[in-house]
Every structure is written in C-alpha cells, then in structure tokens.
C-alpha cells in the first residue's frame, strides 16, 4: 500500500495539438490548440473534477491520459511510471489499471453483443480466469452496479439509459482498475437517474478504493462528486482547488462567471443573485488569444498584462488553491469590479 496523498497520475506540461489541413494537398495550415501546457496531479483515492464548456479540451485531455490520443508533448506519469511514450504493446498491461466510462450509453455499447460479453471482454482479452470463472465474475459485477445476474444474456437495447450506464461502469470495473476516467458519465441521463449513477460512483469508490477523473460540464454534479476541481478554458487550466473552496471562493474570473451562470433551483436565491454575465463566445482554438486566453471575454480585464503576458497557475492562500490570473488578489479583494453585472448589458454582451 502506498501512503495517501501520493499522486497516482502526474501530468507535466501535457500538450495536444491537432493539425488543421486544407486544400487538395492536405497541407497543414494551422493547429488546434486543444490542450496546452497542462500540469496536474491526481492523488490516490480522490475524485478530481474537470470542468469547462464544450471545446475547452477537457475530453481531449481525458483521452490523452488513457493514450487513446498521443500527446504532442509533455509527460504523463501513472503510478510513478512515464507512460507518455509507451508503444501499443507496452500499454496493454496498463489498460487494466486505467479505464474509461463514456458519455453516451447508447453509442458506447456494441448493440450486437450480449451484456455478458460486453462486460466480460476486458477479462477475456487480458486472459483473466477460465470461461466459467469469468461468467461468475461478470454476474457479480452486474450485482455490484445494481443490475441483476439474469441480465447476463440480454442485449443493450433492452435497457434504459441509466441501466446502460451501469453496464458501462461494470465494464470499466471488470479489471479492477486504479483510475477511472469518466467523461460526462451522467449528462445524457434524466435528473432522477443521474442521482442514481452519481451515488453508484461514490459507493464504488468507497468499496474499491478507486481514483476518479470526473469530466463534466455540469457544475452541480462536479461539486457533488469531487474532492478537488480543475477548471479548463480553451486548452488551459485556469484554476485548481479543493472543491468547497472553489465553489465558495472562486478566484479566476472565468470560474466566477461560470458559477454565476448556473441557475440555482431556488427562486429566492435566484432573485437576489448579482449575476456576472459573460459576453461573447469561445474564441477559436486554432488561433487562441495572446496573453491570458480569457482576456477577450473577461469582465475584469485590465489594461496591462492580460493581453500580453501568459498567466501561469500559481498558489493563492493556504489550501492548495491554484489560479492562473494576474489580478486574482485584487479581484478577490473587490478592488477590481466586473464590467457586466445583471441583465442590462445583455445586448451589449451579444454585440461583442
């Protein structure tokens, strides 16, 4: 056993660019900066929530970690071992320890295979046990995720969305992985079913000592499941913090606006809120803005530094709260006020 607090996954300056090709010759004309210079640790036994809006690079980062994508540069260390340059064959044993749960429970299960085969395939591929041992194991897994052993011979189409997601979780669990990367695992589900799956993730973590990277855009769900949260914007990490800290005292202007944008299911709270509405939309990741990538939309943007100096992640306070903003202290102290508050500026906001 390793001591708690020790990182299971360490990312150092991980970068993933995709080439943009144009013309008949498919010449490379640019690069999509999907993930840029991400440095991040995931500690054994914790859940790290990764949030951001579509196109921020959070899924690309997840896929790069399990090496479904090749990192362009940077180092990925899993359990103390550099895995960023391992070849296909060398990666195989590693796949046992690193599993993934996908967003769409309809697209991620082979419709022609029986549930037993879907969940048992990882065991078979890795040569675990005999045929009958595997069957017993799969049936146990079905029970673990809240399905019944009789479901062994059914096909995916016979299940609802929530049940399918349980099948996806059982498949990920089959090889007893150390780390599960869950990419939007509940966003395709209805709220009442969402809660069932969120609870399942938490129970399994306790029972199997799992570590999660939980990628989602729903800030409510991320807050609920995460010990720490990392916020991504246009390929960069802008804030990393213990979950409670982040939600109570967001430091990065992007995080502040993101939390403001989430409607709270309580009319009185809603009517009292002063909402910082973020203008405009995500810039193109092919030619990201200079300096701080958020400066084009930032309600707190300043005349100096923001446009020409890239802010690095730096610690603020005692709790291990990291933020990539030049002006975080001044914003936190209320010395810099946002430009857009409340509803009045929405047309101006749209016009930016």
């Amino acid at each position: 056993m390793t001591a708690p607090g020790e990182p299971l996954l360490e990312l150092e300056h991980v970068t993933k660019h995709f080439p943009v090709r144009e013309g008949i010759l498919q010449r490379e004309t640019g690069q999509v900066h999907a993930v840029d210079d991400v440095t991040l640790n995931i500690v054994r036994g914790e859940t790290l929530g990764l949030v951001g809006e579509s196109g921020c690079g959070k899924s690309t980062l997840g896929r790069t970690i399990v090496r479904l994508l090749e990192p362009t540069s940077g180092q990925i260390r899993f359990d103390g071992r550099d895995i960023s340059k391992l070849g296909r064959r060398a990666l195989r044993p590693l796949r046992r320890e690193l599993q993934m749960v996908f967003q769409d429970p309809y697209a991620s299960l082979n419709p022609r295979k029986r549930v037993g085969t879907i969940i048992g395939d990882p065991l078979r591929i890795h040569g675990v046990g005999s045929r009958s041992e595997r069957k017993t194991q799969v049936q146990e897994l079905l029970e673990t995720v809240g399905l019944s052993p009789e479901h062994y011979n059914r096909y995916p189409h016979e299940f609802s969305g929530g049940q399918r997601q349980r099948i996806g979780v059982a498949r990920a669990l089959a090889l007893r992985p150390k780390l599960i990367i869950a990419d939007e695992p509940v966003s395709a589900l209805d709220v009442s079913i969402q809660a069932q799956i969120v609870n399942l993730f938490e129970e399994l973590q306790d029972d199997f000592g799992l570590t999660y990277l939980f990628i989602a855009h729903d800030l409510n769900v991320v807050r609920h499941v995460s010990d720490r949260v990392a916020v991504m914007y246009l390929g960069n990490l802008v804030e990393v913090s213990p979950a409670n800290d982040l939600y109570e005292q967001p430091l990065h202007p992007y995080t502040i606006s993101l939390l403001d944008a989430v409607p709270i299911p309580d009319p009185q709270v809603e009517s009292r809120r002063k909402i910082v509405v973020l203008p405009g939309e995500l810039p193109s990741p092919v030619s990201p803005p200079s300096g701080c990538r958020f400066h084009t939309r930032c309600p707190y943007v300043q005349q100096t530094r923001c446009r020409d100096e890239v802010p690095g992640l730096r610690p603020l306070g005692e709790t291990g709260h990291l933020v990539a903003c030049h002006w975080a202290e001044q914003i936190h102290a209320g010395e810099i006020t946002p430009r857009y508050v409340g509803g009045a500026e929405i047309s101006a906001a749209g016009a930016l």
Binding site: I193, Q196, L258, P263, P265, D266, I346, G350
Partner: protein, 343 residues
Amino acid sequence: MTEALLDVEGLRVQFATEDGVVRAVDGVDFSLERGRVLGIVGESGCGKSVTSMTLLGLTRGANARFEGSVKFKGQELLTASESQLRKVRGAGIAMIFQDPMTSLNPVQKVGDQIVEMIRAHEDIDKRAARLRTTELFVEVGIANAASRIDAYPHEFSGGMRQRVMIAMALACSPDVLIADEPTTALDVTIQAQILELIAKLKDERGTSVILITHDLGVVARLADDIAVMYAGRIVEQGTKESIFYDPQHPYTWGLLGSIPRIDRPKPPKLHAIPGQPPSLVRPPQGCKFRPRCPHAFAACFEEPDLVARVEPATHLDRCWLTPDEKRGRRDETIQGTTGEEAA
C-alpha cells in the same frame, strides 16, 4: 383573474404503435395568462414536449388520437384546419426548439428564412420585411445584424443560432412563445445569455412564455408558474414559490432532492428516485408514480384528481397524503435543499 390567452382542458394525446397505444399525454389542463411564464417541468417521456407540440398541431398523424380542447383566444385549435393553424403558427403562437441547427434550413440564408415567414403572414414588401429582420437581429443581440442576415445557419455558433430562432419566433409578434428546452444544447454561460434574452422579451413585449425544461434551476430563474409532469399528466401545479417552498407531490420532492446544489454544503448522498418512469403503453394502476413512491399506501391504487389541497387555491396536486403528512415527510427527501427562508 386576468384573461387567459390559452386554455387547455382535458388534453389527451395517444399514438398507436406496434407495442400498443402510447398515452403520451393523459388528461392535461392548464391556462396561460398574458405576460406570464409557465414552466413545464419533467423528465424525458413525461409528455411535456408532446403537449406543447400538440398546441400547434404538430403531432397530427394517422396514428394519433386527440381528446379535450385547446383554446387560443377562444379559437379551438385541436380541431382547426391546417390552413387555420398556419395563421396561428408564428403569428399567434411561436415555438423555439432545443436544437436550433435542425430547425433552420441549412441551404437558405437565415435572413431570407425570416423574411419568408413574415411575408407568409403579412402583406408587406421584401424591403420592409428585411428591415424588420435586421431590427429583430439587433433586438436579440446578434452583432453586425445588417450583414449577418445574409449568412447561412452553419456560419453561426449554437448560441447565435438560438438567437436567430428567437428572432424568427418573434418576427410576427406572437402572443405566446413556446420554448422547448431552449438552452439544453448550450453551454452554461451561453444559456445564461439566452435566459436573459427571454426574460427581456417577456418584460418588454409582454409575450407569454411556455418554458419546457427538465432543469429546475432554469424555471427558478425564469418562470412565474410551474406545472410538474409525470407519465403524461400534471402531478403538481402552482406558482413558482408554492412549488419550490411548499411542494406537495412526492415526485416534486424527488426532483428537488436529486439535484446537487452549488450554493449549499454537499449532502452525503443524493436522493435518487428509485426505479424508472413507467411504460406509457401499460401504465401502473392508480397514481402513476406509485411504483417509485416511498410513501405509497392502499389509497394510491386509485388515482387522485389534480385539485387544491392547500392554500393558495391555485396550488394543485395529485397526492392522497394529507398536507400535514406531506410537510412532515418531504424534508427527508428534499434535505432542506429549498425553503430555508420560506419557513
């Protein structure tokens, strides 16, 4: 009571399918007053979208059967002819959908689509219609309106496309705007922009809105009244305040309890509603929520009517428990997620 623009009574919609008759909407009553926002909340398959599409005759088909009545300004829409309906669509009641990409014609300039729509309803020349389209683009916050009306749908982002849809919906100044999950496909910061826009339209134009969503946060921000739907019927209905602070139906409690909230300390566990929504072909006997309801008892095998059981009289629900029993039991499910200040 002010004059109701839209009156829905005993609406039933059934579709014949290979598996049997699907009772998609099974006895829905509500009315919508001028300048109000009615939020219809529920999960997939509860009938919220079928209800709203039926108002505009969009669910008609060989396998569909309708009962009840839908009156818009006194005119019956359920039995109206296609040409009568065409006059109502857009000019009287307009609709925006979840996915703005599939609701726009991809090979026609967005401005032309709106101009075409205006001219279908009004005797007005092309230049005037274009001018109005530009004004609408400005109103919904599309930058460079004059040049953007000549762009194609794919040249817009998701949020901007939804603004185009809203501009189109507003083109003939409808009395009622039906927004079916208008922000579900959008990112949260863009959602905030679109919700602001809908709120502004309601205030400035006095448009009534039917807001269909699964997101209780969205209705908390925007709605005046709320109807909670389950398995084809309304199980609870009332003002926003009564639904959030004095919820009467166990399904409403379940919804409130199953969403984590960013402004509250984290509960140890979310209150998931056990099981799944029932089949609409063979719905359970009695209260449709009974099989999933932890509070069900013998009486629940008979379905309660949607009536007022508490004050105010506009607050209706379908549950046999007494109001005292409800107030005693609901906190366990909701975990004080709402109503801290209401007590």
